[in-house]
Symmetry: C2
Subunit: 215 residues, 2 copies
DNA sequence: TTTACATTATGACCCTAATCATAAATCTAT
DNA sequence: ATAGATTTATGATTAGGGTCATAATGTAAA
Protein backbone atom coordinates (compact mmCIF):
# COMPACT_ATOMS: atom_id res chain seq x y z
CA UNK A 1 0.00 0.00 0.00
CA UNK A 2 1.14 3.41 -0.93
CA UNK A 3 1.42 5.76 2.01
CA UNK A 4 2.34 9.34 2.71
CA UNK A 5 1.80 10.82 -0.68
CA UNK A 6 2.43 14.28 0.56
CA UNK A 7 5.76 13.71 2.17
CA UNK A 8 7.76 15.14 -0.60
CA UNK A 9 5.84 18.21 -1.50
CA UNK A 10 6.76 21.21 0.53
CA UNK A 11 4.07 23.82 0.52
CA UNK A 12 4.47 27.35 1.62
CA UNK A 13 3.69 27.11 5.29
CA UNK A 14 2.56 30.67 5.52
CA UNK A 15 -0.96 30.28 6.84
CA UNK A 16 -3.47 31.88 4.55
CA UNK A 17 -6.29 32.01 7.03
CA UNK A 18 -7.23 30.46 10.31
CA UNK A 19 -10.64 29.06 11.00
CA UNK A 20 -10.65 29.84 14.74
CA UNK A 21 -8.07 32.01 16.46
CA UNK A 22 -5.53 29.83 18.24
CA UNK A 23 -5.47 31.80 21.50
CA UNK A 24 -9.22 31.63 21.64
CA UNK A 25 -9.10 27.86 21.19
CA UNK A 26 -6.58 27.57 24.00
CA UNK A 27 -8.69 29.77 26.28
CA UNK A 28 -11.64 27.49 25.64
CA UNK A 29 -9.63 24.47 26.68
CA UNK A 30 -8.31 23.12 23.41
CA UNK A 31 -5.30 20.85 23.55
CA UNK A 32 -2.54 20.39 21.04
CA UNK A 33 -1.68 16.95 19.79
CA UNK A 34 1.08 15.73 17.51
CA UNK A 35 0.76 12.98 14.96
CA UNK A 36 3.47 11.14 13.11
CA UNK A 37 3.47 10.66 9.40
CA UNK A 38 0.73 8.26 8.32
CA UNK A 39 -0.81 8.14 11.76
CA UNK A 40 -4.60 7.92 11.75
CA UNK A 41 -6.30 10.89 13.38
CA UNK A 42 -9.80 9.53 13.14
CA UNK A 43 -11.56 6.89 11.10
CA UNK A 44 -14.56 6.86 8.81
CA UNK A 45 -17.67 5.55 10.53
CA UNK A 46 -16.53 6.26 14.09
CA UNK A 47 -17.99 8.72 16.52
CA UNK A 48 -16.68 12.27 16.78
CA UNK A 49 -15.57 13.85 20.03
CA UNK A 50 -13.56 16.85 18.91
CA UNK A 51 -13.36 19.84 16.67
CA UNK A 52 -10.03 19.57 14.82
CA UNK A 53 -7.91 22.38 13.45
CA UNK A 54 -4.57 21.88 11.75
CA UNK A 55 -1.64 23.94 13.05
CA UNK A 56 1.21 22.56 11.00
CA UNK A 57 1.84 19.72 8.62
CA UNK A 58 -0.65 18.27 6.22
CA UNK A 59 -3.63 15.96 6.59
CA UNK A 60 -5.44 13.99 3.96
CA UNK A 61 -9.11 13.28 4.27
CA UNK A 62 -9.96 10.12 2.48
CA UNK A 63 -12.31 7.24 1.97
CA UNK A 64 -11.31 3.71 1.17
CA UNK A 65 -13.42 2.04 -1.49
CA UNK A 66 -14.36 -1.64 -1.55
CA UNK A 67 -11.38 -2.53 -3.73
CA UNK A 68 -9.00 -0.93 -1.24
CA UNK A 69 -8.24 2.13 -3.29
CA UNK A 70 -7.87 5.44 -1.48
CA UNK A 71 -10.09 8.22 -2.69
CA UNK A 72 -8.78 11.51 -1.34
CA UNK A 73 -11.65 13.89 -0.67
CA UNK A 74 -9.47 16.76 0.47
CA UNK A 75 -5.98 17.66 1.58
CA UNK A 76 -5.89 19.97 4.55
CA UNK A 77 -3.46 22.84 4.95
CA UNK A 78 -2.50 24.63 8.18
CA UNK A 79 -5.24 26.84 9.57
CA UNK A 80 -8.03 24.74 8.12
CA UNK A 81 -10.38 22.61 10.13
CA UNK A 82 -11.28 19.06 9.16
CA UNK A 83 -13.76 16.35 10.10
CA UNK A 84 -16.41 18.90 11.00
CA UNK A 85 -19.48 17.12 9.60
CA UNK A 86 -20.42 15.20 12.76
CA UNK A 87 -20.28 18.38 14.82
CA UNK A 88 -23.36 19.59 12.97
CA UNK A 89 -25.39 16.45 12.38
CA UNK A 90 -24.32 14.10 15.16
CA UNK A 91 -23.56 11.32 12.72
CA UNK A 92 -20.29 9.37 12.34
CA UNK A 93 -17.30 10.58 10.38
CA UNK A 94 -17.79 10.51 6.60
CA UNK A 95 -14.11 9.96 5.92
CA UNK A 96 -10.85 9.17 7.67
CA UNK A 97 -8.14 11.69 8.43
CA UNK A 98 -4.53 10.63 8.13
CA UNK A 99 -1.44 12.71 8.80
CA UNK A 100 0.53 13.02 5.57
CA UNK A 101 3.60 14.07 7.50
CA UNK A 102 4.40 15.21 11.02
CA UNK A 103 1.39 17.19 12.16
CA UNK A 104 0.38 19.45 14.96
CA UNK A 105 -3.34 19.53 15.55
CA UNK A 106 -5.51 21.48 17.95
CA UNK A 107 -8.63 19.84 19.22
CA UNK A 108 -11.57 21.15 21.17
CA UNK A 109 -14.28 18.98 22.75
CA UNK A 110 -17.39 18.95 20.59
CA UNK A 111 -19.82 20.36 23.13
CA UNK A 112 -17.57 23.33 23.78
CA UNK A 113 -17.32 23.91 20.05
CA UNK A 114 -21.06 23.76 19.63
CA UNK A 115 -21.60 26.20 22.48
CA UNK A 116 -19.01 28.49 20.92
CA UNK A 117 -21.01 28.68 17.70
CA UNK A 118 -24.19 29.44 19.61
CA UNK A 119 -22.46 32.25 21.46
CA UNK A 120 -20.87 33.70 18.37
CA UNK A 121 -23.20 33.96 15.37
CA UNK A 122 -20.50 35.54 13.23
CA UNK A 123 -18.24 32.56 13.78
CA UNK A 124 -21.14 30.28 12.99
CA UNK A 125 -21.56 32.16 9.71
CA UNK A 126 -17.87 31.67 9.02
CA UNK A 127 -18.40 27.94 9.36
CA UNK A 128 -21.49 28.04 7.17
CA UNK A 129 -19.37 29.79 4.61
CA UNK A 130 -16.75 27.09 4.89
CA UNK A 131 -19.34 24.36 4.39
CA UNK A 132 -20.66 26.16 1.33
CA UNK A 133 -17.14 26.54 0.02
CA UNK A 134 -16.63 22.79 0.35
CA UNK A 135 -19.98 22.22 -1.34
CA UNK A 136 -19.08 24.39 -4.28
CA UNK A 137 -15.93 22.33 -4.70
CA UNK A 138 -17.93 19.09 -4.55
CA UNK A 139 -20.40 20.43 -7.11
CA UNK A 140 -17.57 21.20 -9.46
CA UNK A 141 -15.92 17.89 -8.82
CA UNK A 142 -18.95 15.66 -9.20
CA UNK A 143 -19.88 17.39 -12.43
CA UNK A 144 -16.40 16.95 -13.81
CA UNK A 145 -15.89 13.44 -12.58
CA UNK A 146 -19.10 12.59 -14.41
CA UNK A 147 -17.57 13.90 -17.60
CA UNK A 148 -15.52 11.23 -19.24
CA UNK A 149 -12.50 13.08 -20.45
CA UNK A 150 -9.50 12.73 -18.11
CA UNK A 151 -7.98 16.01 -19.22
CA UNK A 152 -11.16 17.86 -18.27
CA UNK A 153 -11.17 16.27 -14.86
CA UNK A 154 -7.57 17.23 -14.23
CA UNK A 155 -7.92 20.78 -15.50
CA UNK A 156 -11.01 21.54 -13.50
CA UNK A 157 -9.35 20.21 -10.36
CA UNK A 158 -6.21 22.26 -10.91
CA UNK A 159 -8.25 25.28 -11.92
CA UNK A 160 -10.16 25.16 -8.68
CA UNK A 161 -7.00 24.93 -6.61
CA UNK A 162 -5.50 27.84 -8.49
CA UNK A 163 -8.55 29.93 -7.73
CA UNK A 164 -8.50 28.86 -4.08
CA UNK A 165 -4.74 29.28 -3.83
CA UNK A 166 -4.44 25.78 -2.44
CA UNK A 167 -1.33 23.63 -2.80
CA UNK A 168 0.62 26.61 -4.08
CA UNK A 169 4.37 26.27 -4.46
CA UNK A 170 6.08 28.94 -2.38
CA UNK A 171 8.68 29.78 -4.98
CA UNK A 172 6.73 30.05 -8.20
CA UNK A 173 3.26 30.79 -6.85
CA UNK A 174 1.71 28.05 -8.97
CA UNK A 175 -0.40 25.08 -8.02
CA UNK A 176 1.89 22.13 -7.56
CA UNK A 177 0.72 18.57 -7.16
CA UNK A 178 2.16 15.19 -7.93
CA UNK A 179 0.53 13.07 -10.60
CA UNK A 180 -0.19 10.54 -7.91
CA UNK A 181 -2.13 13.07 -5.84
CA UNK A 182 -4.17 14.06 -8.86
CA UNK A 183 -4.93 10.40 -9.46
CA UNK A 184 -6.01 9.95 -5.85
CA UNK A 185 -8.41 12.88 -6.06
CA UNK A 186 -9.94 12.11 -9.44
CA UNK A 187 -10.07 8.34 -9.31
CA UNK A 188 -8.06 8.18 -12.51
CA UNK A 189 -5.21 5.70 -12.76
CA UNK A 190 -1.72 7.16 -12.38
CA UNK A 191 -0.72 6.06 -15.83
CA UNK A 192 -3.67 7.92 -17.29
CA UNK A 193 -2.79 11.04 -15.31
CA UNK A 194 0.82 10.83 -16.48
CA UNK A 195 -0.20 10.56 -20.11
CA UNK A 196 -2.86 13.26 -19.83
CA UNK A 197 -0.47 15.63 -18.08
CA UNK A 198 2.07 15.18 -20.83
CA UNK A 199 -0.53 15.97 -23.43
CA UNK A 200 -1.71 19.01 -21.48
CA UNK A 201 1.83 20.26 -21.43
CA UNK A 202 2.26 19.68 -25.15
CA UNK A 203 -0.81 21.82 -25.76
CA UNK A 204 0.51 24.50 -23.41
CA UNK A 205 -2.17 24.12 -20.77
CA UNK A 206 0.26 23.49 -17.95
CA UNK A 207 3.95 23.47 -17.22
CA UNK A 208 6.35 20.72 -16.31
CA UNK A 209 9.59 21.68 -14.63
CA UNK A 210 12.12 19.04 -13.68
CA UNK A 211 9.35 16.49 -13.95
CA UNK A 212 7.05 18.41 -11.61
CA UNK A 213 3.64 19.63 -12.60
CA UNK A 214 2.79 23.32 -12.26
CA UNK A 215 -0.48 25.01 -13.12
CA UNK B 1 -33.05 19.46 -25.98
CA UNK B 2 -34.70 17.21 -23.52
CA UNK B 3 -36.84 19.03 -20.98
CA UNK B 4 -39.05 18.29 -18.03
CA UNK B 5 -37.69 14.92 -17.08
CA UNK B 6 -39.75 14.79 -13.94
CA UNK B 7 -43.14 15.39 -15.44
CA UNK B 8 -44.23 11.82 -15.43
CA UNK B 9 -43.06 10.65 -12.09
CA UNK B 10 -45.55 11.25 -9.36
CA UNK B 11 -44.00 11.31 -5.97
CA UNK B 12 -45.84 11.13 -2.75
CA UNK B 13 -46.55 14.75 -2.08
CA UNK B 14 -46.77 14.26 1.64
CA UNK B 15 -44.12 16.64 2.88
CA UNK B 16 -41.50 14.84 4.92
CA UNK B 17 -40.08 17.90 6.58
CA UNK B 18 -40.06 21.62 6.13
CA UNK B 19 -36.95 23.70 6.32
CA UNK B 20 -38.63 26.83 7.69
CA UNK B 21 -42.20 26.93 8.93
CA UNK B 22 -44.45 28.45 6.26
CA UNK B 23 -46.36 30.75 8.59
CA UNK B 24 -43.12 32.07 9.93
CA UNK B 25 -41.90 32.79 6.41
CA UNK B 26 -45.13 34.65 5.64
CA UNK B 27 -44.83 36.67 8.84
CA UNK B 28 -41.35 37.69 7.85
CA UNK B 29 -42.57 38.94 4.52
CA UNK B 30 -42.04 36.02 2.19
CA UNK B 31 -44.01 35.92 -1.01
CA UNK B 32 -45.29 32.95 -2.95
CA UNK B 33 -44.52 32.62 -6.60
CA UNK B 34 -45.64 30.09 -9.18
CA UNK B 35 -43.53 28.74 -11.98
CA UNK B 36 -44.60 26.81 -15.04
CA UNK B 37 -43.00 23.60 -16.12
CA UNK B 38 -39.47 24.20 -17.39
CA UNK B 39 -39.44 27.80 -16.29
CA UNK B 40 -36.08 29.00 -15.00
CA UNK B 41 -36.16 30.09 -11.36
CA UNK B 42 -32.59 31.33 -11.27
CA UNK B 43 -29.47 30.83 -13.32
CA UNK B 44 -25.96 29.67 -12.56
CA UNK B 45 -23.54 32.57 -12.22
CA UNK B 46 -26.14 35.22 -11.41
CA UNK B 47 -26.58 37.10 -8.19
CA UNK B 48 -28.87 35.85 -5.46
CA UNK B 49 -31.60 37.98 -3.92
CA UNK B 50 -33.80 35.45 -2.18
CA UNK B 51 -34.01 32.44 0.04
CA UNK B 52 -36.09 29.85 -1.84
CA UNK B 53 -38.24 27.10 -0.36
CA UNK B 54 -40.33 24.72 -2.43
CA UNK B 55 -44.00 24.39 -1.49
CA UNK B 56 -45.25 22.10 -4.21
CA UNK B 57 -44.00 20.62 -7.45
CA UNK B 58 -40.47 19.66 -8.20
CA UNK B 59 -37.33 21.59 -9.04
CA UNK B 60 -34.13 20.36 -10.57
CA UNK B 61 -30.86 21.98 -9.70
CA UNK B 62 -28.45 21.58 -12.54
CA UNK B 63 -25.34 22.70 -14.29
CA UNK B 64 -24.81 22.76 -18.02
CA UNK B 65 -21.44 21.52 -19.15
CA UNK B 66 -19.50 22.86 -22.11
CA UNK B 67 -20.95 20.27 -24.46
CA UNK B 68 -24.48 21.30 -23.53
CA UNK B 69 -25.25 18.26 -21.41
CA UNK B 70 -27.29 18.78 -18.26
CA UNK B 71 -25.73 17.52 -15.07
CA UNK B 72 -28.39 17.34 -12.41
CA UNK B 73 -26.89 18.09 -9.01
CA UNK B 74 -30.10 17.58 -7.09
CA UNK B 75 -33.83 17.25 -7.45
CA UNK B 76 -35.78 19.21 -4.89
CA UNK B 77 -38.92 17.96 -3.19
CA UNK B 78 -41.57 20.04 -1.37
CA UNK B 79 -40.40 21.45 1.95
CA UNK B 80 -36.76 21.62 0.89
CA UNK B 81 -34.86 24.80 0.24
CA UNK B 82 -32.62 25.28 -2.77
CA UNK B 83 -30.05 27.69 -4.07
CA UNK B 84 -28.86 28.53 -0.58
CA UNK B 85 -25.10 28.75 -1.23
CA UNK B 86 -24.94 32.46 -2.04
CA UNK B 87 -26.83 33.31 1.14
CA UNK B 88 -23.80 32.22 3.11
CA UNK B 89 -20.86 33.25 0.98
CA UNK B 90 -22.16 36.16 -1.09
CA UNK B 91 -21.03 34.56 -4.32
CA UNK B 92 -23.12 33.84 -7.43
CA UNK B 93 -25.31 30.79 -7.87
CA UNK B 94 -23.39 27.54 -8.38
CA UNK B 95 -26.15 25.99 -10.45
CA UNK B 96 -29.43 26.82 -12.14
CA UNK B 97 -32.84 25.92 -10.79
CA UNK B 98 -35.55 24.88 -13.23
CA UNK B 99 -39.12 23.92 -12.45
CA UNK B 100 -39.65 20.31 -13.51
CA UNK B 101 -43.40 20.81 -13.43
CA UNK B 102 -45.82 23.41 -12.10
CA UNK B 103 -44.24 24.71 -8.93
CA UNK B 104 -45.16 26.86 -6.00
CA UNK B 105 -42.17 28.49 -4.37
CA UNK B 106 -41.81 30.73 -1.32
CA UNK B 107 -39.11 33.32 -1.37
CA UNK B 108 -37.71 35.56 1.31
CA UNK B 109 -35.35 38.48 0.68
CA UNK B 110 -31.79 37.47 1.51
CA UNK B 111 -31.10 40.07 4.17
CA UNK B 112 -34.21 39.08 6.09
CA UNK B 113 -33.14 35.44 5.86
CA UNK B 114 -29.67 36.25 7.13
CA UNK B 115 -31.06 38.24 10.04
CA UNK B 116 -33.38 35.34 10.81
CA UNK B 117 -30.43 33.00 11.21
CA UNK B 118 -28.66 35.43 13.47
CA UNK B 119 -31.73 35.73 15.65
CA UNK B 120 -32.35 32.01 15.80
CA UNK B 121 -29.22 29.94 16.44
CA UNK B 122 -31.21 26.70 16.42
CA UNK B 123 -32.49 27.43 12.94
CA UNK B 124 -28.96 28.30 11.90
CA UNK B 125 -27.87 24.88 13.19
CA UNK B 126 -30.66 23.28 11.16
CA UNK B 127 -29.20 24.90 8.07
CA UNK B 128 -25.69 23.82 9.01
CA UNK B 129 -27.05 20.33 9.30
CA UNK B 130 -28.62 20.62 5.86
CA UNK B 131 -25.35 21.79 4.35
CA UNK B 132 -23.55 18.87 5.96
CA UNK B 133 -26.20 16.50 4.67
CA UNK B 134 -25.65 17.80 1.16
CA UNK B 135 -21.90 17.46 1.67
CA UNK B 136 -22.18 13.86 2.75
CA UNK B 137 -24.12 13.16 -0.42
CA UNK B 138 -21.47 14.90 -2.52
CA UNK B 139 -18.73 12.91 -0.78
CA UNK B 140 -20.50 9.70 -1.62
CA UNK B 141 -21.17 10.81 -5.15
CA UNK B 142 -17.72 12.06 -6.02
CA UNK B 143 -16.17 8.89 -4.66
CA UNK B 144 -18.51 6.73 -6.67
CA UNK B 145 -18.37 8.78 -9.83
CA UNK B 146 -14.62 8.38 -9.63
CA UNK B 147 -15.06 4.63 -9.61
CA UNK B 148 -15.41 3.37 -13.11
CA UNK B 149 -18.13 0.78 -12.84
CA UNK B 150 -21.54 2.07 -13.93
CA UNK B 151 -23.42 -0.40 -11.76
CA UNK B 152 -21.59 0.86 -8.68
CA UNK B 153 -22.45 4.44 -9.52
CA UNK B 154 -26.11 3.60 -9.97
CA UNK B 155 -26.38 1.47 -6.84
CA UNK B 156 -24.73 4.00 -4.59
CA UNK B 157 -26.99 6.72 -5.89
CA UNK B 158 -30.12 4.66 -5.38
CA UNK B 159 -28.88 3.43 -2.02
CA UNK B 160 -28.45 6.96 -0.82
CA UNK B 161 -31.94 7.95 -1.92
CA UNK B 162 -33.40 4.91 -0.21
CA UNK B 163 -31.68 5.88 3.01
CA UNK B 164 -32.82 9.48 2.66
CA UNK B 165 -36.32 8.43 1.59
CA UNK B 166 -36.07 10.67 -1.43
CA UNK B 167 -37.96 10.05 -4.67
CA UNK B 168 -40.06 7.41 -2.98
CA UNK B 169 -43.06 6.05 -4.86
CA UNK B 170 -46.17 6.64 -2.76
CA UNK B 171 -47.67 3.23 -3.46
CA UNK B 172 -44.81 0.82 -3.01
CA UNK B 173 -42.55 2.83 -0.73
CA UNK B 174 -39.53 2.23 -2.95
CA UNK B 175 -37.17 4.63 -4.64
CA UNK B 176 -38.44 5.24 -8.12
CA UNK B 177 -36.51 7.06 -10.80
CA UNK B 178 -36.41 6.97 -14.56
CA UNK B 179 -33.31 5.70 -16.27
CA UNK B 180 -32.97 9.13 -17.80
CA UNK B 181 -32.88 10.79 -14.39
CA UNK B 182 -30.21 8.38 -13.22
CA UNK B 183 -28.21 9.20 -16.33
CA UNK B 184 -28.56 12.92 -15.68
CA UNK B 185 -27.28 12.55 -12.14
CA UNK B 186 -24.39 10.20 -12.82
CA UNK B 187 -23.20 11.51 -16.13
CA UNK B 188 -23.62 8.07 -17.65
CA UNK B 189 -25.25 7.70 -21.05
CA UNK B 190 -28.88 6.59 -21.05
CA UNK B 191 -28.03 3.48 -23.03
CA UNK B 192 -25.47 2.50 -20.43
CA UNK B 193 -27.95 3.06 -17.63
CA UNK B 194 -30.57 0.98 -19.45
CA UNK B 195 -28.15 -1.90 -19.91
CA UNK B 196 -26.79 -1.66 -16.37
CA UNK B 197 -30.27 -1.54 -14.87
CA UNK B 198 -31.23 -4.65 -16.76
CA UNK B 199 -28.19 -6.45 -15.47
CA UNK B 200 -28.87 -5.26 -11.93
CA UNK B 201 -32.35 -6.67 -12.19
CA UNK B 202 -31.05 -9.98 -13.53
CA UNK B 203 -28.82 -10.24 -10.50
CA UNK B 204 -31.72 -9.36 -8.21
CA UNK B 205 -30.31 -6.05 -7.03
CA UNK B 206 -33.35 -4.03 -8.06
CA UNK B 207 -36.84 -4.49 -9.41
CA UNK B 208 -38.44 -3.54 -12.68
CA UNK B 209 -42.21 -3.27 -12.82
CA UNK B 210 -43.95 -2.39 -16.06
CA UNK B 211 -40.66 -1.04 -17.26
CA UNK B 212 -40.20 1.20 -14.23
CA UNK B 213 -37.22 0.95 -11.95
CA UNK B 214 -37.72 0.38 -8.22
CA UNK B 215 -35.10 0.08 -5.54
C1' DT C 1 -58.02 11.30 -30.96
C1' DT C 2 -54.23 13.14 -32.52
C1' DT C 3 -49.85 15.31 -32.08
C1' DA C 4 -45.51 16.14 -30.09
C1' DC C 5 -42.07 14.92 -27.25
C1' DA C 6 -39.57 11.80 -23.79
C1' DT C 7 -38.28 7.60 -22.48
C1' DT C 8 -36.97 3.03 -23.28
C1' DA C 9 -34.85 -0.31 -26.23
C1' DT C 10 -31.37 -2.75 -29.19
C1' DG C 11 -27.44 -3.62 -32.19
C1' DA C 12 -22.97 -2.42 -34.24
C1' DC C 13 -18.84 -0.14 -34.02
C1' DC C 14 -15.23 2.62 -32.03
C1' DC C 15 -12.33 4.78 -28.86
C1' DT C 16 -9.85 5.02 -24.97
C1' DA C 17 -8.91 4.50 -20.16
C1' DA C 18 -7.88 0.51 -17.32
C1' DT C 19 -4.81 -3.05 -16.66
C1' DC C 20 -0.48 -5.45 -16.46
C1' DA C 21 4.40 -5.72 -16.66
C1' DT C 22 8.66 -3.64 -16.12
C1' DA C 23 12.00 -0.22 -14.97
C1' DA C 24 14.07 4.25 -14.19
C1' DA C 25 14.19 8.25 -11.37
C1' DT C 26 13.41 10.60 -7.21
C1' DC C 27 12.84 11.28 -2.45
C1' DT C 28 13.21 9.99 2.74
C1' DA C 29 15.14 8.14 6.53
C1' DT C 30 18.90 5.93 8.72
C1' DA D 1 26.11 7.03 1.38
C1' DT D 2 22.85 3.52 1.31
C1' DA D 3 18.44 1.20 1.46
C1' DG D 4 13.62 1.31 0.93
C1' DA D 5 9.68 3.35 -0.68
C1' DT D 6 7.26 6.27 -3.84
C1' DT D 7 6.69 8.49 -8.00
C1' DT D 8 7.25 8.71 -12.78
C1' DA D 9 7.65 6.47 -17.15
C1' DT D 10 6.53 3.45 -21.27
C1' DG D 11 4.56 -0.14 -24.12
C1' DA D 12 1.13 -3.76 -25.20
C1' DT D 13 -3.27 -5.48 -24.59
C1' DT D 14 -8.04 -5.52 -23.49
C1' DA D 15 -12.47 -4.59 -21.62
C1' DG D 16 -16.20 -1.83 -21.67
C1' DG D 17 -18.67 2.51 -21.95
C1' DG D 18 -19.50 6.01 -25.51
C1' DT D 19 -21.50 6.93 -29.85
C1' DC D 20 -24.62 6.49 -33.62
C1' DA D 21 -28.67 4.85 -35.91
C1' DT D 22 -33.21 3.38 -35.61
C1' DA D 23 -37.56 2.35 -33.62
C1' DA D 24 -41.07 1.10 -30.24
C1' DT D 25 -43.40 2.63 -26.36
C1' DG D 26 -45.26 5.80 -23.11
C1' DT D 27 -47.09 10.23 -21.63
C1' DA D 28 -49.06 14.90 -21.71
C1' DA D 29 -51.43 18.35 -23.95
C1' DA D 30 -54.22 20.35 -27.88
Amino acid sequence: MRVGQLKKVRYLLKIKYIMVNVDRLLDLGASTKKYNSNEIIFEEGTECYYYYQLVSGSVRWLQVSEDGKEFVQDMIEPGECFGEFPLFDERPYAASAIASNECEVMRLPRNIFQQLLKDDPDLHFAFSKLLVERLRFRFLLSKNLASNKPEDKICSLLGYFKEQKKYICSKCNLVQLTRQQIADMTGLRVETVIRSIRHLQETGKLQINKGKVFY
